[in-house]
């Protein structure tokens, strides 16, 4: 009996040692969020959220309206100060070293505009200067060719279609070759063809540059296609997480939309 207990302790120690060493060997996450909370008066928009995003991964924040995904994204961008909790990006505490990490990341959202009266070239020129991009003209030429908007360079941003604006916004978000890209509903209000084109471009960019992507979306198909891991949010909390295939297996559904509805309704019943 005693020897069995001894073996059990020994094997537990081996497991602990192995786990510790595996942890040591794993690359540090690009984003580490710990107990993040945001309150607006009596309303808790984000409630003790913790997650991490490994280098080179695409992680999706999935949730309906008011789930807290945009608020979480805003705190990761430093646009919003958390009520409590800690955000670490590239190993830096965001609260103290925001300006050390901002040059290495970028952001795109259909809800934040670029100046309408400026041309595409002028907008990109301004942001290239803000991000201290070397060889600005070359970078703008390459990027706009890549995103197939080089013919729009001298047109005013405000005169473009929704799809063209999305590509320009994407060009702005890639102007500094970011290692970390935060995207808020990157294909919202786009037709299926343009949406598909944007998703393909993001996949190609990530494969080419090894960038880390965190995207907030309530488009389940998009998340299923792009993300290595999904963080499901509802009412400011993380209600589940896992790989898209893992979540499908766990809930026995064919698509993430059904998984999301199951989780949302189960939580609502609670």
């Amino acid at each position: 009996m005693a020897s069995t207990r001894c073996w059990s302790h020994a094997s537990a120690l081996v497991v602990l040692w192995f786990a510790w060493h595996t942890q040591e060997m794993l690359p540090d996450p690009v984003i580490a969020v710990d107990d993040l909370t945001k309150r607006f008066g009596a309303v808790t928009a984000v409630d003790k959220v913790s997650f991490s995003v490994p280098k080179g991964a695409t992680v999706g924040l999935l949730g309906g309206n008011g789930a807290g995904k945009t608020t979480t994204l805003s705190m990761l961008l430093g646009l919003l100060t958390p009520t409590s909790g800690r955000i670490t990006i590239f190993g830096h505490d965001l609260a103290d070293h925001r300006y050390n990490v901002l040059p290495r990341m970028n952001f795109s959202s259909p809800y934040v505009d670029l100046p309408h009266r400026l041309t595409v070239r002028q907008n990109l020129e301004v942001y290239a200067r803000l991000y201290s991009v070397p060889n600005r003209a070359r970078q703008i030429a390459m990027l706009t060719q890549d995103l197939q908007i080089d013919t729009l360079l001298d047109r005013r941003y405000g005169k473009l279609s929704a799809g063209q604006k999305t590509r320009v916004s994407l060009a702005k978000s890639l102007i500094n070759d970011p290692e970390l890209l935060l995207l808020d509903e990157p294909t919202a209000s786009l037709d299926p063809d343009t949406g598909d084109w944007v998703r393909s471009y993001l996949e190609a960019y990530q494969q080419r540059c090894g960038a880390t992507i965190l995207l907030a979306s309530h488009n389940m198909g998009e998340v299923e296609r792009l993300c290595d891991e999904v963080v499901m949010m509802r009412a400011g909390r993380i209600v589940d997480r896992g790989t898209p295939s893992g979540l499908l297996d766990r809930y026995g559904h064919d698509d993430l939309e059904a998984v999301f509805l199951t989780i949302a309704r189960a939580t609502a019943e609670e």
Binding site: K69, D113, R117, L118, Q122
Partner: protein
Amino acid sequence: MASDIVPIRPPGTSLGRIQGMVLRHVYLLRSSWPRVVELIYWPTLEMVIWGFMSQFMRNQGGYMGQAFGVLLGAVLLWDVFFRGQLGILVSFLEEYWARNLGHLFVSPLRPAEWVGSLIVMSIIRVLVGTLPAALLAIPFFGYSIFDMGLPLILFFILLTLLGWAIGLMIIAVVMVNGLGAESLAWLAVFLLSPISAVYYPVSVLPVWLQYVAWGLPTSHVFEGMRTLVLSGRVDWAEARTAFLLDLVYIALGALAFLTAFRAARREGKLLGLGE
């Protein structure tokens, strides 16, 4: 781990980012002739109205007849203050109207660099707005504000400094209260007009209001301007007091701006991000 923590690219210079933001507003002005016309329109119109008024008064003789340049000088210098304040404020509001703040503040642009670019734009707007009016006054009314000589530069600096301070305070109000406070932003500066001794000396005001007036750099500048035009003497004591008061107001403006910026980040006012 260590290689991850060290930034792999230099953050770039503040000057480059300030240039970027100035360029953004210059592009905007270049693309919109109504904006440029609006800059020049009011100072020129006011100069014409007060120019005729001054000519009329000169023909009547008396105090105002002796001091032909006082009214026109006051009009043009008030516009330097007004345009200085408006220059910083409008450049800020342009970002709000464009819903561009979210992009700006996730870039490496620091608040101090942003304010630096607003100040440069304020100088550009003041010069574009008031120089044509000042130059037109020479052939139209035979009045040159440049006859004041070097003290004119001093008055320009003292008034522009206060314009920036008031501009920062109004930006703080708009940042916390949103665009609902925009109309207040346009009107606030006119509250200072009656107690700034622009067109009449401080001694005209009720005694209790004189204390308030002497607390404003503008009163000292306009009293100094009248002394210069009427007696040809530079009142250095007034200039010194105006400068010290300017420093106080600049400090208050910077404090209000930084407090409002922190509050805006805490309450999510910098966002146009849905939710």
